[in-house]
Each structure stands twice: as structure tokens, then as C-alpha cells.
Symmetry: C2
Subunit: 125 residues, 2 copies
DNA sequence: TAATCATATTCCTATATCGGAATCTGTCAA
DNA sequence: TTGACAGATTCCGATATAGGAATATGATTA
């Protein structure tokens, strides 16, 4: 089995660096494709293909305006990502605390039982 | 050029559904590999390979404890993702407002196309 | 009508991938 | 020691990819 398709969900679509750059550029207001080509320095077909992927997963919206097509980031499609990442938020502080503790205890060679019973130290035989 | 390596950055590593499941499971406290095998119903080699990717980008930390190796999610590595997604936060409300406006004006013969580029009326000639 | 601009699609190819099966490494117990 | 357990690694194969080049579609203007 190969990797999941880039257009299978937001996570896969957003994995590509250039597509994130496109979303950044298109946040706020709509722009024609050519603006992206100039701003990102990519070939026009590349931009079109990236936009296709982004549109397939709902990350951008498109609207024709005469000759050009105006794209705009659909920010709400990014929310699932934001919320998933946010579920780890409460562990950030926790982890920083743990690292700090470890750093402090490296000063003193003394080992003492902590408040939390953690598994036996890595020991070698 | 193929897709960027899964272990090239957090975004690519996290694109895979099973790896997100692993991160969810390993948030909070450390667990041996076998717990993951049982919890996710994946083959052991698959789990090991996913863990390898996650470790390469710093999303998990490993520690040997006797026969088993305990893994734990390194939540802080998820922050870049959270912060990138967060830059779009201010557009969510904005966009919801726009959608609402559009819905309200749908009573009247509103100009302005939908979310996809549709063929405009054949113009007169 | 033809010419031109703006964008999309198709064809091409090297490559990283995921899962499965088999195998290897390392640790503990008797 | 041997055996058993816990994980990691290697080999395999089908597949979706990203970029480049060439081409196609669609809209406007002369």
C-alpha cells in the first residue's frame, strides 16, 4: 500500500510545503493563479495542480472572474487540524516541567523518590 | 519529484492516519510497543516502522525498560503544527460571517458565484 | 474570425511509501 | 547455555506522487 492520496484529507493535503505556502498566501482575500505563480516562483502548471488538490479537500474556494479564476483559502477547513493538535496542548506544560525537573536533578547526583512513581531507571547488567 | 519523505518534517509524519492514532494513544504516559499493537490492531512491524518515523521527527521519545521499550508522545513537537493552523484562526469568524451574508442575500437575485468556478451565462455577441 | 491571455489537464518518470512475511537483535528466565 | 519474549530491520511490490514539457480549454479582445 502506498501513501494515502494527497487529496484524501486535509492532513495529507497540507503535508506539502508549497501547498501550505499557497494557503498562507490565499488567506484573507482572493487572488488569481498568476499572483501565486509570481509570489511563489513556481511553474504555472505546478500551482494549478496544487490548487486542484487543495480544492478537492475543501481548503480553497474558487470563483471565475472573466479570464482569471480567483482562489481563496477556506480557513474553516483547517480547523480539524487545529483542533487535533490542540488536544495535546495540556501536555506541553506538563512535559516542559518534566524536562526541567530532569535538568535540575542532573546537578545533584543524589537520587530521591519523586512524587510520581515512575518505572525503574534504565539499568544495564 | 516524489512526495517529501514522511520523516522529513512533522507535517509529513502526521499526515498518516495510523501515526496520529499512535500519537493519541501515547499522549499522557508511556507505553510499550505491544500495547499499541493490541490497541490499534496493527501488525507489530508496522507499528515499529511508524514509531521509527515518529521518532525521527521528534514526535515520540523512547526509553528501554527491560525487555520492552516504552514510547511516549513528545507533545511539544506538535506545536509548530498547532501554531501554523492557528494563524488562520482569525479568518474563521470572518468566513462564517461571509457565508451568512450570502445565505441572507439568496432571497434576492444575488450576483457573485458560488464556491466553484461555474460557467457564466453565455455572453451576448 | 483569429489572436491572445489565464488556467487546467495530460503524459512522463524517479522515488518514497505502506503493508506483509521473514529474519535479526537484544533482554530475561531457567 | 537454551528458550522465549519484545522490538527492530530487511526485502518485496503496487501505487500516488511532484515537477517539467507539451497541450488543451475557456474567455476576452481586435
Amino acid at each position: 500500500m502506498p501513501r494515502a492520496a494527497t487529496s484524501s484529507d486535509v492532513f495529507n493535503a497540507v503535508a506539502e510545503h508549497q501547498r501550505r505556502a499557497i494557503l498562507d498566501f490565499l488567506a484573507g482575500d482572493e487572488r488569481p493563479v498568476n499572483d501565486l505563480v509570481n509570489a511563489l516562483g513556481l511553474a504555472q502548471p505546478s500551482v494549478s495542480k496544487h490548487l486542484r488538490v487543495l480544492r478537492d479537500v475543501g481548503l480553497v474556494r474558487a470563483r471565475r472572474d472573466g479570464r482569471q479564476i480567483l482562489y481563496r483559502t477556506n480557513a474553516s477547513a483547517i480547523r480539524p487540524l487545529y483542533e487535533w493538535a490542540g488536544t495535546f496542548e495540556r501536555f506541553w506544560g506538563q512535559q516542559l516541567r518534566r524536562i526541567k525537573e530532569r535538568a535540575e536533578s542532573s546537578h545533584r547526583p543524589a537520587r530521591e523518590g519523586g512524587d510520581r512513581p515512575h518505572k525503574p531507571e534504565k539499568h544495564k547488567h
